[in-house]
Symmetry: C2
Subunit: 405 residues, 2 copies
DNA sequence: TGATTTAATTTGATACGCGAAAAAAATAGT
DNA sequence: ACTATTTTTTTCGCGTATCAAATTAAATCA
């Protein structure tokens, strides 16, 4: 049980000014020193000191004043600062059941390369995975005209129960063994800092750094892929729970003694909205021929088929109930529904969102903002890259502070 | 003297050493400087500096060395420090539908007085409540041979939706109006710092300061009184959500389109486990004579009455489901089930707890600790006092730091 | 050209916390 | 009894971070 973790009081853990200023710059994209001071509540003097250090280290750079700032024309023109993309090359890699998708980004988050590597099979040993990751990274770097040694950090996204603080895999559908010290194995094989996490958390990180949740310190991301996942950001940090296996939205129960879930329990949300659950329904409900294609089923529902429609309808209602529960518990300012597959569109319908809103405790205050954010194919890999970016920034700046001493 | 009150970046948000040390002392009860240093990771030199300041301010005091410390006999004997109870007098007050219960505690948390004031009626206007609070506090102080002006802070516990950051009441069953700036009104009428919160949060605070959750930075408290409440502590702080109305455990939905709740929605947990819900069931299910006494119903269930038993049984299963959902979302290290009324014992039964454990996502890690903690009558008021204690400590220490400058 | 405005930097001061050394207060050994 | 040893606490000097105020820089306005 987590006894109150006393933070060494020095500059160790805490956002030592440098971090705060750097984050402000990245968040803003381009921002003048004076505005950094305003936003971070750090004095202009200190901002100057810190930024000159970051400039010297090559982490940020000055930009020529952007054309026309409305109003204010007199006075010394402000000089904007931005993150220097060339400072670091970072990779994000996401393992699905079919392939390993790699994305290369610079330190600004700009994509500089993509790469896809087929998997021999959906499940493999940890050793095989390490080899695969190495190949995929090498391939991605080569394709972008860079070398593996150019990488400053790699983010790895895996489905399953991941303890990101220890780079430890409790369990993943991609691996044929439980409880793997994957982080250690990777670091040994590839001399680059690794950062790994469960995929819902990756998306949350991406939303926080580049997406809809910029500037926000508290929000929730719901992802739908094969299963249903959730990433919780509280106070700017991803919430992980005691054992690193919280946020199991897909396995919250929405029906007492309900439908059987592949986790072995009954009534899990996933057992009502997961793809396998929908197909199971379709087959049980006496469809003429066995159904095994979700998009076909979805098409039939759209075309008006009553049976198909009722299947999606119930799934939507269950999803609304689960989401409302999360909102009633967290009272978040923002909920991002993130997904890739159009087949899950029914979960994001007006109808479902309205039902959610009706099931939230009513107060005289604005309802939480629920936004649907559909990413492209590379969503997950980009999330992994975002994770690594944050890690690399932290490492670099910590090193900087240490060197100064 | 200082003109613009920009918050010095040092003491702003973070526990400025002084807070950290003081908290360590309160947490430990009695503790020597060297151990404070060990626990807080602050150097002995700094501990000396800070403690001497706290001593001078009268917030803590030295205690004669306790008899025999096992082992270690040589060396300079350690001098223990403790919070000086006489430093502040603090009140906690809890409003129920029948009365206002007041508890007076010293700065150590030791009870120095109790007081109970009858309410004219269960619902009143904000103005009436202010008068009532004033009367109750005056009465409590008088009974303990103190004066109202001796109070350094008052914690107020109210059922309903309270925004503790603004001392604002969205809604409370005790008030006949919504959206009341109760904090302002109280402060105007009674010149003492007020701290108010929803009652589940009060209990959480009490558990953290004095109870089962000492030293813990992450845990969850579930309370059962009239309704079902929840307090969430993350990172040592009570989690409140965006609009200050999170943690509405009682209104999470456990059944799609289920039983009607007094909040107007359907399927809320409270609509299955609340006292009114149980009685409603009993009456609907064709009991011979209308039932209006919950303890009688409970007694009948214990005696073997099948109908009564089935009512409590279902409530227990619904409760287990809701609790499992919370655990699946938070993955907490500790859950405290807190209650006063024996009538709710059925919710804490082995049976229910087992059901909860069966509904949690399974990992190779110890299950969260679920403990039942029954408090005495004054539980709620004590929670309110705990809240105020924390607030007063913070205020005092902040003032101290400011004066030092 | 000089006045004005706004941004950025320099300067000097201060608080915080640490490490090392010293002091204090006890016991153990001879 | 007196010295050595052990352990806690305090003192001292230093480095770092940060800030307020003053200064410099770079533009426009009149």
């Amino acid at each position: 049980m987590a006894a109150t973790q006393r933070i060494p009081h020095g500059l160790d853990q805490r956002e030592s000014g440098r971090q705060q200023v750097f984050d402000a710059i990245r968040q803003a994209g381009r921002i003048a020193r004076i505005d950094i001071a305003r936003e971070t509540q750090v004095s202009p003097a200190t901002v100057t000191a810190i930024t000159s250090e970051l400039l010297a280290a090559g982490l940020i750079e000055e930009v020529v004043p952007e054309g026309d700032r409305p109003g204010a024309k007199r006075g010394r023109p402000r000089v904007s600062l931005k993150v220097r993309g060339a400072a670091h090359l970072i990779a994000g890699i996401k393992i699905t059941d079919r392939s390993a998708t790699v994305i290369l980004v610079d330190f600004e988050g700009k994509t500089v390369g993509e790469y896809d590597q087929e998997l021999p099979g959906p499940v493999m040993s940890a050793e095989e995975l390490v080899v695969l990751v190495r190949e995929a990274l090498t391939g991605a770097c080569a394709a972008a005209g860079r070398r593996l040694s150019d990488l400053s950090g790699v983010g790895l996204g895996l489905a399953g129960l991941i303890d990101a603080t220890r780079n430890f895999v409790h369990w993943s559908p991609a691996l044929d063994q439980r409880n793997v010290e994957l982080g250690q194995m990777l670091s040994q094989a590839i001399p680059v800092p690794f950062f790994m996490d469960n995929d819902a958390n990756l998306v949350a990180k991406a939303e926080q750094l580049f997406g809809q949740a910029r500037n926000l310190s508290d929000f929730i991301v719901i992802t739908i892929e094969q299963g249903v996942g959730m990433g919780i950001v509280i106070d700017g940090k991803i919430y992980r729970g005691e054992r690193g296996c919280g946020a199991e939205f897909g396995h919250t129960k929405v029906q007492l003694d309900g439908a059987l879930c592949r986790c072995g329990q009954r009534g899990c949300l996933e057992a009502y909205v997961g793809d396998y659950a929908l197909l199971r329904e379709a087959n049980i409900r006496g469809s003429a021929q066995p159904e095994d294609d979700l998009s076909a089923l979805y098409a039939r529902a759209k075309a008006g088929d009553a049976m198909a429609r009722s299947i999606f309808d119930r799934a939507g209602r269950m999803f609304a109930m689960g989401l409302a529960n999360v909102i009633n518990i967290f009272d978040p300012g923002l909920v991002i529904l993130s997904g890739e597959q159009m087949t899950f569109d029914f979960l994001y319908s007006e109808d479902v969102l309205n039902r959610v809103k009706e099931s939230i405790v009513q107060v005289d205050a604005p309802l939480p903002d629920i936004r649907v954010h559909k990413w492209g194919d590379l969503m997950w890999a980009k999330g992994a890259a975002a994770c690594a970016m944050e890690g690399v920034s932290e490492l670099t700046i910590r090193k900087l502070a240490a060197n100064a001493a």
